[in-house]
Amino acid sequence: MFKTKRFWVSNFGFRASNLQGFKIMGLWYSVSAILLLTFLVVIGIEGMGLVSFFTIFIPYAALFLFVVGFLYRVLKWATSPVPFHIPTVSGQQRSLSWIKADNIDSPYTTGGVVKRLALDILLFRPLLKNEKVEMQAPQRLLFKPSVLLWFGAMAFHWSFLVILLRHLRFFLEPVPSTIVILQRVDSIFQGLIPVIYITDIIILVALGYLFVRRIIYPQVRYISLSSDYFVLLLILGIVLSGVLMRLIYKVDLVQVKEWAMAMLRLRPVAPKEVNLLFYIHLFFISLLVAYFPLSKLMHMPGIFLSPTRNLTNTSRNQRHINPWDYPVKTHTYEEYEEEFRDSMKEVGLPIEKG
């Protein structure tokens, strides 16, 4: 990484290390925000005893904000016209029959678009094209593939999904056998009790990498905002409180499920015999869910609505009509001549009709 310093100095005229001072501020804002929020829930529960507020009102409000905000954002996107076909492509466009076209990297059918989106969403294929640029010899620029971000993102997102599905056991009665099987597969290396889930370890390592990456690489640090750090720290808080509850400070899960089921049938009852970690866990999840529609987490629905990814590359073999076209008021030359014929004749301008 430090080999790149020369590259930065020669291209931008300042040292990458100069960035460290002021661009790290976002990180401290996020850390303070997380600490403040933790403090808030500790004071709220321990000091003021607002158990119902934190376990009933806040989760309901967060869920409401999540659903309404999510729908609002997506519907707002839907009101923007997409007049042009602007897919980003990296393959041969379909043209003549004897030129082999690439239906995934330059999709020309809906099937191609579906395949490409599926690869993007399930396997994060675009991240595999990530490259790092290095200046090796004085005038030699090297492009190297960099799969670390792809790996970290895959590990994080898939573990998150498995963890989310595992949590369905708190909300479904009876618990579907698929969830139980998923749990058993996830804990396949279990030797002793308490059970340690593979995804718990993977998500911690992946989150650690995704967080450290924003700090140690000057380029990434330069473009990292406090919202980037905040989301990572929030999820890290959720994971850590969850893992600690599983391994060390245990809670009565039957009480937790009874609370969750009561929430679902809209007859909420505050959970009994749970410890502070549960309240922190729940509060952080509520925050994440409520913050979701306002944040970059909207890339979840956004990936489906990206014009650069979900359009076919048929800008030339199909006619695309501007959706906001309206009948334009025109004034043709014939009409113009009709209007000014006498004046034109007077000054001797050539006229087409008599």
Binding site: F66, V67, F70, L71, V74, L75, A78, T79, S80, P81, V82, L168, R169, F171, L172, E173, P174, V175, P176, I179, V180, Q183, R184, L192, I193, P194, K250, V251, D252, L253, V254, K257, E258, M261, L264, R265, R267, E273, P301, F304, L305, P323
Partner: protein, 133 residues
């Protein structure tokens, strides 16, 4: 405010709403929205070996410790926090009172989707009675 591509976006949002509210439909269809596990508590005994709150959360560690103690160290006596002594045995101590696994253990285990390894080796008393007949 015109919606563009509404034919694709609206079904997508309906799928989203379906996924978010899935637990409600699942529990409504199964008819178990207000189900709670019903444990059969022995009538003749008054206390468990440790306080209820401790047992509810830590019974798995306790049994794991017992297993380790009996199998590895050969120590078979457990001194509870109230100084009473018990034999470390799932069958002879725990299931002495909680005789029917389906009416005790399985109630919460099924409710929480928990699987355990106890029954890979152990039989519970009810099962033994069936076998005797």
């Amino acid at each position: 405010m015109a919606l563009y591509d509404g034919k694709k976006i609206i079904p997508g949002l309906i799928i989203f709403l379906g996924l978010v509210s899935y637990p409600i439909w699942h529990n409504t269809v199964s008819g178990k929205t207000s189900y709670v596990p019903k444990l059969e508590i022995p009538k003749d005994k008054k206390e468990c070996i440790e306080p209820k709150a401790y047992i509810r959360v830590n019974h798995k560690e306790l049994l794991e410790d017992w297993r380790f103690s009996v199998v590895r160290s050969g120590v078979r006596t457990y001194q509870a926090s109230n100084q009473k002594r018990y034999t470390m045995s799932l069958n002879r101590t725990c299931m002495e009172c909680h005789r029917d696994r389906t009416k005790f253990c399985d109630q919460c285990h099924n409710y929480m989707g928990v699987t355990n390894k106890c029954w890979d080796c152990h039989l519970y008393p009810k099962e033994m009675e069936k076998g005797a007949k």
